[in-house]
């Protein structure tokens, strides 16, 4: 059983680490594409500098996303071989399609974009970053299609103990993916917007490259406000969908042990998983019924009742996910999103009043809140994947049945320690480079606006 635990740790670490970089890639590729298009259409050199500055940061992040993504593709076979055997027909197809339709496009056209400044026409050069941006977001669709099957299987039959695809269209039109994809992509847009805001705030506080970062702060502000608003909306509809598609996930995220009508929303709780109860709860009456069904008089099923249904359906076993981390992850995600919303609204209001730069504490708050989108992304995925436990493919295969029988604990220890160490070292190198480039600012413009030199002034002044 040690192998199972180690494999789960390795999967968790490599996946969370990979997803630190992916959302920024999704959003920042689009921002860079928009900046370059603006440059091409207006001919304003400042936008070329914007494209290059944010483009450089994008490339560092992109490289990290790509190399950690290679591990993602191979570790299903390495650590979860029985999952690969059981699911190959269904999971392999979107993965191969992701490579064929998206990975080729993004890597080939990114190479063209990096090296093509002097070899392509302006329009073609801008078009190549658009191809990268669209391919990157398309790749998210394919991998989420694969993940959606694991959450909510469709278009398959079980044959000779393996899941076989019977309906490709059903696989790619899984209602689950149409709830998950927008929320994931929007979280990428918010991450990128907030990244732009934080770094722009850094220079606005220091009063360096002010015109340059005023422009990017403005773009970041509008971008983040709009995508954050949509993100919250998509989160709400996704939760309502989950209430029907995966009631256990919702009940666990809310630590709702007993079916209730109307169901309250617990803002905070002390959870006793052993006795399946919450000794202390701070709750808003009927709020969960409203959130889940738009109606205060509707019931929401509790963990205990759902567990009874699952035991009747799937046989004896433990079908309750880890409630405490689910409950808090969900709240941390929502809190991080709300905090970003407050910051964006305050900063936007001050901007509109023309007082933002006179209030450095607001800019500092924006700067130091850069971890917020990352926290929300990680906890959000924790809820999605944690809420599926003990299943790896909901209702079809349990995590414990999926692990590779031929891989021993020592091998997994070696890879777990190796990956973690390399990831830590690369994180240090990447953060070092990003902060260096951020301090440096746009290379071809002076940090402070040129002051006319007084006559007779020293050359060294």
């Amino acid at each position: 059983m040690e192998e199972l635990l180690l494999s789960r740790w390795q999967f968790g670490i490599t996946t969370i680490y990979h997803f630190l970089f992916v959302p920024l890639t999704l959003g920042l590729s689009l921002i860079v594409a928009i900046l370059e298009t603006t440059y091409v259409r207006t001919g304003n050199e400042m936008y070329k500098q914007q494209t290059k500055f944010w483009g450089k940061l994008f490339l560092i992040n992109f490289a990290m996303g790509v190399v950690t993504g290679i591990v993602q593709e191979f570790h299903f076979g390495m650590n979860w071989s029985e999952y690969a055997r059981f699911m190959g027909d269904i999971f392999g197809a979107p993965l191969a399609l992701e490579a064929l339709t998206a990975f080729y496009l993004e890597s080939v056209f990114l190479g063209l974009w990096i090296f093509g400044w002097d070899r392509l026409s302006k329009r073609l050069h801008a078009a190549s970053i658009w191809v990268v941006a669209l391919a990157t977001n398309l790749s998210a669709f394919w991998i989420l299609t694969a993940n959606s099957f694991m959450q909510s299987p469709v278009g398959y039959i079980i044959n000779n103990g393996r899941a076989e695809m019977t309906d490709f269209v059903a696989l790619i039109t899984n209602p689950y993916v149409f709830n998950q994809f927008p929320h994931t992509v929007l979280s990428g847009l918010v991450t990128a917007g907030f990244f732009v805001l934080s770094i722009s705030a850094f220079h606005l506080i220091r009063k360096t490259h002010v015109d340059f970062f005023r422009a990017s702060f403005k773009l970041g502000l509008i971008w983040t406000a709009v995508s954050l608003f949509l993100l919250m909306g998509s989160g709400h509809t996704q939760t309502q969908f989950i209430a029907k598609a995966q009631p256990m996930k919702l009940a666990a995220a809310e630590a709702l042990w007993e079916t209730a009508s109307p169901a309250p929303f617990a803002v905070a709780a002390i959870i006793d998983e052993q006795n399946k109860t919450n000794p202390v709860e701070l709750k808003i009456p009927a709020m969960l019924s409203i959130l889940a069904n738009n109606n205060p008089n509707t019931p929401v099923k509790g963990i205990k009742d759902i567990e009874k249904e699952y035991i009747a359906k799937y046989g004896p076993g433990n079908y309750v996910p880890a409630v405490t981390p689910m409950f808090w992850s969900f709240r941390i995600m929502v809190a991080a999103g709300s905090a970003m919303m407050v910051l964006v609204l305050v900063a936007g209001f001050l901007w509109w009043r023309g007082q933002l730069e006179a209030k450095p504490w607001v800019l500092k708050a924006v700067l130091w809140s850069l971890p917020l989108p990352y926290i929300a992304n990680s906890t959000g995925w924790f809820v999605t994947e944690g809420g599926r436990q003990p299943w790896i493919v909901f209702g079809l295969q349990k995590v414990g049945e999926a692990v590779s029988p031929s891989v021993g604990a020592i091998s997994i220890w070696i890879s777990l320690i190796g990956f973690t160490l390399v990831y830590a070292l690369l994180a240090i190198a990447a953060v070092y480079l990003v902060q260096k480039l951020v301090w440096q600012g746009p290379v071809d413009t002076p940090a402070k606006a040129n002051k006319p030199v007084a006559k007779g002034a020293s050359l060294w002044s």
């Binding site: 190399v67 390495m78 191969a96 190479g111 076989e164 019977t166």
Partner: protein, 334 residues
């Protein structure tokens, strides 16, 4: 044609694309510390593959995805069985990919030197391990009746597979040197040529040993086609060596590319219809029949692959055309 046979061919095609393209950019990475005498020269060497290496690597990613989709049992048995070898390869590919992006973003010589060294290691390890892996597939590894690998990491290392690894490493290095003769100029081009001439001798020796051991350790030559392909690869290599010696770099590179392609074809042909040979019991080998996906998945994937692979070839070829010029010290991005 049976779809599983078609997918065996498609998998072969993906591996040919992968070994041909990544082959030379592994080679360039391996030669980097030896050919680039100063930072500018090393930047020139890296920039010869700068715009294209990432797209080249996608051929490997796609081959992996195609295995997962078309032959899930191959994907499962191979990757779990060769666990530590694959772990080493992933580590190498991680640092290699990052190194290309990071090395020139800081002036510090220690920083650049470290990443250059990692590019070398990150290119040499996968080149070596793919040779070890391919020779293991055909020599056979302990696979039981349940398609599970029952050996250890050290069972993958035998004289035959180590020779296979070194031969692949050398062929890729030679192939990379020829690529550099086409993409650099002046003194650097001369150095690439003399590297090819030196490495080529060693490559020839290891290739002949590999062919000999393939006779004694595998049943590859039981298939006439595979045998002809393998000898053909050796003959093309000799031709390629002759070309580079006579400074016919274009022909030399074409012939070294064909060497890589024909070697890949020889090993896959020798395997057919098996995918992984079981050394315990031939009946337990993974084959295109017992390891394949359902015919529905295969037909969906066939349509996708036949529509998309030619398209990929077109735009990837177009990007190579855009960057067809030789690289010099001006206009360096990395």
């Amino acid at each position: 044609m049976e779809l599983s046979i078609l997918w065996f061919i498609l998998l072969t095609v993906l591996f040919i694309g992968f070994f041909f393209l990544e082959g030379f950019d592994y080679g360039v990475g391996i030669l980097l510390p030896f050919l680039g005498k100063n930072d500018t020269e090393r930047r020139v060497v890296i920039n010869t593959i700068g715009p294209v290496w990432d797209g080249n690597e996608v051929w490997m990613i796609t081959a992996g995805g195609a295995m997962f989709a078309a032959f899930p049992h191959l994907y499962a048995t191979l990757f779990s069985g060769f666990y530590l070898a694959l772990f080493l390869m992933l580590m190498a590919l991680i640092v290699r990919g990052v190194a290309f992006e990071f090395r020139s973003k800081d002036e510090n010589p220690a920083w650049r030197g470290t990443w250059d060294w990692l590019i070398f290691v990150g290119s040499a390890i996968p080149a070596l391990l793919w040779g070890v892996a391919v020779t293991n597939l055909i020599q056979g590894v302990p696979i039981n009746a349940k398609m599970q690998y029952v050996g250890t990491f050290f069972d993958l290392l035998s004289p035959y597979t180590l020779v296979g690894g070194i031969a692949f490493l050398l062929v890729f290095t030679f192939h990379g040197a020829l690529y550099l003769t086409l993409k650099t100029e002046g003194e650097l081009m001369e150095r690439a040529r003399s590297a090819a001439v030196k490495v080529g001798v060693l490559t020839a020796v290891f290739c002949l040993v590999l062919v000999g051991l393939t006779y004694t350790h595998t049943d590859l030559f039981a298939s006439t086609g595979a045998g002809i392909a393998l000898w053909g690869a050796v003959a093309l290599f000799v031709g390629s060596y002759g070309c580079v010696y006579g400074r016919q770099y274009g022909f030399g590179f074409i012939l070294s590319s064909l060497t890589v392609a024909l070697t890949t074809i020889a090993f896959f042909w020798g395997l057919f219809p098996r995918l992984m040979v079981s050394s315990i019991n031939p009946a337990w080998s993974l084959t295109i029949t017992n390891a394949a996906s359902s015919s529905y998945t295969l037909s969906i994937m066939t349509m996708a692959a036949l529509a998309l692979v030619p398209l990929v070839l077109v735009y990837q070829g177009w990007v190579y055309w855009i960057f067809r010029k030789r690289v010099n010290a001006k206009n360096l991005e990395y």
